[in-house]
């Protein structure tokens, strides 16, 4: 069965992540510009007396549908590409996919 891998990563690491995925032969993906915060609750900056909280920081949400057997490889590749060692490196979740249909193929079936 296929899985939907969703990764929340830093925008500036997208190219690295894409590179790592290409190395393992994974090309298809969907990219969404999102804002997010992790368990750090946002960053509070106060270097000028009055604090400002920056709690939603631009992130990239990456969605990749892959066959189950590829999931671990994909996770590893994303991790290699997205890692910096600082808070905010992100998170990867995997969801079950019940059907995965290519529109062009399905259309042919429909119209036949």
């Amino acid at each position: 069965m296929d899985k939907l891998v969703i990764a929340f990563i830093r925008p500036e690491k997208l190219d690295d992540v894409k590179g790592e995925l290409e190395k393992i032969g994974i090309y298809p993906m969907t990219v969404i510009e999102v804002k997010g915060r992790g368990s750090q609750k946002g960053i509070t900056l106060s270097y000028r007396g009055i604090p400002v909280t920056i709690d939603l920081i631009p992130k990239i949400q990456l969605e990749i549908v892959v066959p189950e057997e590829k999931v671990q490889e994909v996770i590893d590749a994303i991790t290699r590409g997205a890692y910096t060692g600082n808070p905010g490196d992100g998170r990867i979740i995997v969801l079950p996919v019940e059907m995965n249909i290519k529109i062009r193929d399905h259309y042919k079936k429909l119209s036949s």
Partner: protein, 407 residues
């Protein structure tokens, strides 16, 4: 007694307004479009705040330093026109037929944009407070002094250095100051390349259009009259910009297979910079060549700086500084005696190159040394850099409490 000439005054009123427009919002947009979206406001604020500070400093003190009566060839009497009290200034500026106050205004717009150009060096990492203090010191201690040398009766004007509208005074001084400042403040962290990443190219192009438009006031206004010189300056400025734009676009195409709008914009600015010192002296053919070489030169200088890893982020040095140098030298080459009284090398007068080169070097050295001193002082007093966390999330929110876009 001299009287005000309404035609000349009309032109100077328009031209001064156009030069103001170059900074607010022209340069602010040009720079703002070039940075990432989380730094656009802080970058624009650098330009806006420098402009306002320079204007106030200029009317109180700067104009006197630049245009007060000459002290040892080096500066003007700083107390002569202090605060521009109506009783203490001539109604009409000597040697012109325009009111003193519009002459002050016109010259003040030059001081302000020169200062603002330097913001290139601190984009995406400089503290607003440090920058504002720097602006104040720079416009008084660097700009006003060099303006005195060249236009206020100082030693470079005695050498007959030609600088029609500010190749040395405005562009060399600001461009090389930016280079020094970029080294003092240091590179941005968390970037992969020292190239700017433009977040909004239409903003850059609006800025470019406003700069080009305003530059016609900048250069043709420098005739301080609506006369033949102004007309010459107007036309060669337009032509050199077009030529520079095409040249840079062509270079980009040569290297990458495609031209680009940012290439066009950068080339136009390079052409405008280079024609600035020359605008009252060269003919149309000269301006095509000057503009094209400026586009090519600054294109190479940008690439050079990036290869070197210098983070003079928005290329004040490569574009204003280096095309300013080229234009100042080129004035000594292409000055056509059929345009104005001056002749350059290609019109049989190799001697004009001497003051051009001396003036260029003097401006570079003085601007770099003084900027070093001022920037170090500001570093000690205020500190130049925002905290690392701020640089990471972008300066707009922490420095200004604002986000540019809230769709």
């Amino acid at each position: 007694m001299a009287t005000v000439n309404p035609g000349d005054t009309a032109w100077l009123l328009s031209a001064s307004s156009m030069v103001l427009f170059m900074s607010i919002p022209g340069l602010a947009l040009f720079y703002g479009g070039l940075v990432r979206s989380r730094n656009v406001l802080s970058t624009m604020y650098h330009v806006l705040s420098a402009f306002a500070i320079a204007v106030i400093a200029w009317v109180i003190l700067g104009f006197s330093i630049a245009f007060g009566s000459n002290i040892a060839g080096f500066i003007g009497n700083p107390f002569q026109f202090l605060g521009l009290l109506p009783s203490e200034i001539p109604k009409i500026w000597p040697g012109t037929s325009v009111p003193t106050l519009i002459y002050v205004g016109f010259q003040g717009m030059f001081a302000a944009i020169a200062t603002a150009i330097i913001a290139s060096a601190i984009a995406e990492r400089g503290k607003a407070e440090a920058w504002m203090l720097f602006s104040l010191l720079w416009v008084l201690l660097v700009y006003s002094v060099i303006a005195h040398w060249v236009w206020g009766g100082g030693w470079l004007s005695s050498l007959h250095a030609l600088d029609f509208a500010g190749g040395m005074v405005v562009h060399i001084s600001s461009g090389f100051s930016a280079l020094v400042l970029s080294f003092i403040i240091g590179r941005r962290k968390f970037i992969k390349t020292v190239e700017a990443i433009p977040h909004n190219i239409p903003l850059i192009l609006i800025g470019t259009g406003i700069l080009w438009f305003g530059w016609l006031g900048f250069n043709a206004g420098s005739a301080v009259a609506a006369n033949l010189d102004a007309a010459n300056a107007w036309l060669v400025t337009t032509v050199a910009a077009a030529s520079g734009a095409l040249a840079w676009a062509f270079m980009t195409k040569r290297e990458t297979g495609r031209p680009s709008t940012v290439a066009y914009a950068s080339g136009a600015v390079a052409g405008l910079v280079a024609i600035t010192p020359a605008a009252g002296y060269v003919d149309v053919i000269g301006s095509i060549i000057i503009g094209a070489i400026a586009g090519i030169l600054s294109y190479c200088m940008v690439n050079f700086r990036i290869r070197k890893g210098w983070d003079e982020t928005l290329d004040a040095w490569a574009v204003h500084g280096m095309s300013g140098v080229w234009g100042s030298i080129a004035t000594g080459l292409f000055a056509d005696p059929a345009v104005a009284k001056a002749a350059g090398l290609f019109f049989g007068n190799p001697y004009q190159l001497v003051p051009q080169i001396v003036g260029t070097i003097a401006s570079i050295v003085y601007a770099m040394v003084m900027t070093y001193i001022i920037a170090k002082f500001v570093d000690a007093v205020v500190g130049w850099r925002v905290p690392e966390e701020v640089e990471k999330v972008g300066l707009d929110l922490p420095e200004l409490g604002e986000e540019a876009y809230n769709m």
